[in-house]
């Protein structure tokens, strides 16, 4: 994998295109679809980086579960406005300038790379590296406690999501669900006004 791997180049270029597409898409559904594509490409990238198990997990979790969830919410909330204009003065230009500097800095740091395997050079990757077996071995031996804690986190998140989404169910025709927030919202002039 020395030099510029053509597979990597193609996959990377596509990942960037889909990412840009995602943040530029007018339609939220298009954006979500770009994201599915991006996550799929990421899974391929994981394969190229000797992480087959993670590639599978990426497909299942991101491209599967999370994307379905996002699309579901998009459908639930109905038609979404594009909201492409910028009401906050200077936000766009300042953000672009700061992102340019940050991006350049990050790329510059990434270009430094990292020291390779202890033996030096590009050592041969063992075939089992990153395989489901190896991952399972690591997860259930060395990392078993974090693994269990993460399962708890998932449980809490699930309960939390249910509580948050279930909370304050109001009739939909009521313009503002929370009177306090609604009053506030009318008091503060909208930046777009």
């Amino acid at each position: 994998m020395s030099g510029l791997d053509p597979a990597f180049l193609i996959v990377g270029a596509l990942a960037i295109v889909t990412a840009v597409g995602m943040i530029l898409a007018k339609n939220v559904v298009h954006s979500a679809l770009f994201m599915v594509a991006h996550f799929g490409l990421t899974a391929v990238l994981y394969l190229l980086l000797s992480a087959p198990f993670l590639a599978a997990a990426q497909l299942i979790v991101y491209a599967g579960a999370i994307m379905v969830l996002v699309l579901f919410v998009v459908m639930l909330l109905g038609r979404q406005e594009a909201l492409l204009d910028e009401p906050i003065v200077g936000q766009r230009w300042l953000a672009l300038a700061a992102l340019g500097v940050l991006g350049a800095a990050l790329v510059r740091v990434a270009a430094l790379g990292v020291p390779a395997a202890p033996e030096g050079g590009t050592a041969v990757v063992p075939p089992a590296f990153g395989s489901p077996a190896a991952m399972g071995d690591a997860l259930y031996t060395q990392w078993v406690l974090p693994f269990e804690v993460v399962s708890l986190v998932l449980l809490v998140a699930m309960i939390g999501a249910v509580v948050i989404a279930h909370f304050q169910r109001r009739p939909r025709n009521e313009k503002a669900g929370n009177p306090a927030i609604a009053a506030d919202a009318t008091e503060i002039p909208s930046p777009r006004a």
């Binding site: 906050i88 300042l94 953000a95 990050l106």
Partner: protein, 807 residues
């Protein structure tokens, strides 16, 4: 009981009375408050009298013990130089403060040749200030100021040490050591070095009794007791008697502290306390704003003098390293310690302090206004005792004044001019209390004149006689006012006619009730409304006559002797060839004539002739609690000055007030005065003639019936002069214009411009700045998540860029 243990009771008894009245005054009620206060004063007088009889201070020719009042903190060296021995009793109550820290001083106890090693058995460590060191003059002069070990090296010090305490180096024996402080400072002087300020000085709350303070406490407690007694009757109808008597007792305590203090600081405490009491009592009837403002005026004017006194004390401390009389005065007697410039400065500052308390030019303006207080207060504080504090203080510190002949001349000039000016003002006043007030200022001026002439004993003598007859006159005036008020209320209710003051001599012609006040003077104390009171109030009247004649200086009453003695000393100085003393003598003599004149006027207007108002017509004598003190004081005014009393007194005072031999060239001692100038008899005749002349003139102008010289016509003839005197030389107006007004303006400026405009504005600006800062920075809190995110990104970018490219 020994003198030392009994001594603190003299001030303590009035203090106990004061504390009792503060806590239980309301419960005791007015009558019992008066009795408690009077008993406290009486007991204090009894103790003072016991001290007088038991201490032998007043016995001439008595030789005092060599060292007195040794205690753990205070040692009076037995032989200061060649200063005359004084009979002094010390009573140290407690240590107030340690002014300088303690030092360990290593001294060599026998002569060692300079440069040779010092044998170990010749070295002793003494802890200052347990040991007090008197040195040979050479070192003495340096050691009592700042000096370095280098300066001390090579000088011969005679150490006169009295070791005290558990680790005393010798068995209580006096250690006399002649030593040379060696060049080898390491050995002779410990690493700490000689103390920068040589004597670690401990300020004690200590009392000291000598002939001078004994005389003062006798006056204060004796006259004070009589005035307390009088107050019971005079204040009988005042609702605030507990407060009044509490103040009166506090004053007595303060005054006794002042005269008994064994150092300048205790004296100063008393000095300030009497000022505070004076303020409280002048403004006793504080519901009238004029009284309250008179109290403030007295307090503020006094404060000017007090500042000078305070500075003088600081100078004394830096010069002598101590404030105790026992340390300072013997040193001051030594011309090597006290040089001319410092002595003049200290004496001048003390003089300013004294002019404040003793109401002399230029600080006398408070005393006439102080008559706003109750009349017994005027008698006690503003005539007999407190105002004499300045004279007492100068007499006490006379050793310093002896070194400053120019200041002494200034004292005499201030005194003579004050005496003359105040007597002039007193000539034309209509308010009986104001006449007496200016008379007091004038008489205090006489005392200053005596002190300035170096005749301290004469000044103190006049202080004593003046205390008698001026207290008598004030109390008599109070009694007359009391009688007048009685008269005003006598016929009240029998019809209200036009309240006009008629010159008709028919008693029944006066409309009942008090006539309206003229010139703002209450009618009962206005001479124009009195007349013929001698017949209506005989006891008060006759004692008043005695007091008046004593003030006028009529032979053989008290005032004659003391005034004569002062004039005698002044003319004695003139005999030495000082033209200024001749002028001062002339001024004194003229003042004596003026005094006799205004006293005669006072007596004639108040007591003789026909009544000039219903008050005078129906007056009645005061109750016995008021007249009894008058009788006693009248007796004292008669005998108080007789030579068989004043002679021994002068002799007893002599050790305290005698001018030391080697400065006698500066000051004419009493011995010189006798030889130069006119003889005592001639002078007495002249003074008597002047006094009688003044009285005769008064008789000519104010005698009952038609006057030989009509005062009204005279006043018209001399319109300008009369108005000036009537207006008291317009000094109050001058001060108001020249001092008070600029001061008020400065205060207004500081208030409105500096305080409001700068200080408050700065505070407000800080507040407004904080608000503006908040208003400005709240704009950062847009509430938009994306702005916050942008902040994070900008920060991260800046940090990353800095780390990558700028470091």
């Amino acid at each position: 009981m020994s003198i030392e243990t009994l001594l603190p009771w003299v001030p303590a008894l009035p203090l106990i009375g004061f504390v009792t009245l503060v806590f239980f005054g309301r419960r005791l009620g007015g009558r019992w408050s008066g009795i408690v206060a009077t008993v406290a004063m009486g007991a204090a007088f009894a103790v003072a009298a016991w001290l007088a009889l038991g201490s032998a201070l007043l016995r001439p020719g008595w030789s005092p013990p060599r060292v007195m009042g040794i205690d753990e903190k205070h040692v009076v060296p037995a032989d200061y130089l060649d200063h005359p021995q004084e009979a002094v009793y010390h009573s140290t109550l407690w240590t107030w403060m340690t002014v300088a820290p303690q030092y360990d001083l290593t001294v060599v106890t026998r002569p060692v040749r300079a440069g040779e090693p010092v044998p170990a058995d010749a070295v002793t460590t003494i802890r200052l200030p347990q040991a007090r060191i008197t040195h040979d003059l050479e070192l003495f002069a340096t050691s009592h100021r700042m000096f370095t070990p280098e300066q001390a090296i090579g000088r011969i010090a005679r150490l006169d040490l009295l070791p005290i305490g558990p680790d005393a180096p010798l068995n209580g024996d006096r250690l006399l050591a002649e030593t040379t402080l060696l060049p080898d400072a390491e050995r002779a002087i410990p690493a700490a070095g000689l103390p920068e300020r040589p004597l670690g000085y401990v300020v004690d709350v200590a009392l000291q009794l000598d002939a001078l303070s004994l005389l003062m406490i006798l006056i204060v407690t004796g006259v004070g007791f009589l005035i307390h007694l009088y107050s019971i009757g005079y204040m009988a109808h005042d609702a605030d008697r507990p407060r009044y008597f509490a103040y009166l007792n506090l004053f007595a305590f303060s005054m006794l502290t002042l005269v008994l203090g064994a150092n300048f600081l205790v004296l100063f405490v008393g000095w300030e306390l009497v000022g505070a009491c004076s303020y409280l009592l002048i403004g006793f009837w504080h519901k009238d704003p004029a009284n309250a403002s008179a109290g403030r005026k007295a307090f503020i004017v006094n404060r000017i003098g007090d500042v000078a006194f305070l500075i003088a004390m600081m100078l004394i401390f830096t010069t002598f390293g101590s404030l105790a009389f026992a340390d300072v005065l013997p040193q001051a007697a030594d011309p090597l310690v006290l040089s001319g410039g410092v002595a003049t400065l200290i004496a001048a500052l003390l003089l300013v302090g004294a002019t404040g308390k003793s109401a002399q030019i230029p600080l006398y303006v408070w005393l006439p206004d102080a008559m706003a207080g109750p009349t017994p207060v005027s008698a006690l504080i503003h005539a007999a005792t407190m105002v004499t504090a300045g004279i007492y203080m100068m007499a006490r510190a006379h050793v310093i004044f002896d070194h400053a002949p120019s200041v002494l001349v200034a004292v005499a000039v201030v005194g003579a001019v004050t005496a003359f000016g105040a007597a002039l003002i007193a000539l034309v006043q209509s308010d009986i209390k104001r006449v007496l007030a200016y008379s007091t200022v004038s008489q205090l001026g006489y005392m200053f004149l005596g002190v300035g002439a170096g005749a301290y004993a004469s000044g103190v003598f006049h202080l004593m006689t003046h205390a008698f007859f001026k207290a008598l006159l004030f109390l008599g005036a109070g009694s007359l006012m009391h009688a007048m008020e009685h008269g005003f209320h006598h016929g009240k209710g029998s019809g209200h006619g036009a309240a006009s003051s008629s010159e008709d001599h028919d008693d029944d012609a006066f409309p009942p009730g008090p006539p309206p006040a003229l010139d703002g003077i209450p009618p009962e104390q206005d001479l124009r409304h009195m007349g013929g009171l001698l017949r209506k109030a005989p006891v008060t009247g006759w004692t008043f006559v005695v007091g008046g004649l004593a003030l006028a200086g009529v032979f053989p009453l008290a005032g004659f002797w003391s005034k004569d003695e002062i004039l005698h000393h002044v003319i004695g100085r003139a005999g030495e060839g000082g033209a200024i003393w001749l002028a001062l003598f002339a001024l004194g003599l003229v003042t004596a004539g003026l005094t006799a004149f205004y006293t005669g006027r006072l007596l004639l207007l108040a007591l003789f002739g026909a009544p000039r108002s219903s008050g005078a017509a129906h007056a009645a004598d005061s109750p016995r609690t008021m007249t009894a003190p008058l009788v006693v004081l009248a007796a004292l005014s008669i005998v108080g000055g007789l030579p068989w009393l004043s002679g021994p007194l002068a002799e007893a005072l002599d050790p305290v007030l005698r001018v030391a031999g080697h400065v006698a060239t500066n000051v004419a001692g009493s011995a010189h005065a006798a030889e130069s100038g006119p003889s005592a008899l001639t002078l007495a005749l002249i003074a008597s003639a002047v006094a009688l002349g003044g009285l005769a003139l008064a008789w000519a102008m104010y005698r009952p019936g038609t006057p030989l010289v009509d005062p009204a016509r005279l006043a018209t003839a001399m319109g300008g002069a009369y108005r000036t005197l009537r207006g008291k030389f317009y000094v109050d107006e001058l001060y108001a214009w020249g001092l008070v007004r600029p001061f008020t303006r400065i205060a207004d400026f500081l208030w409105h411009r500096v305080d409001d405009g700068v200080v408050d504005a700065a505070v407000n600006a800080v507040g407004r700045g904080a608000v503006a800062l908040g208003q400005g920075s709240r704009r950062w809190q847009t509430g938009y998540v994306r702005t916050y995110g942008l902040g994070i990104v900008i920060g991260a970018a800046a940090l990353a860029a800095w780390l990558l490219w700028l470091v």
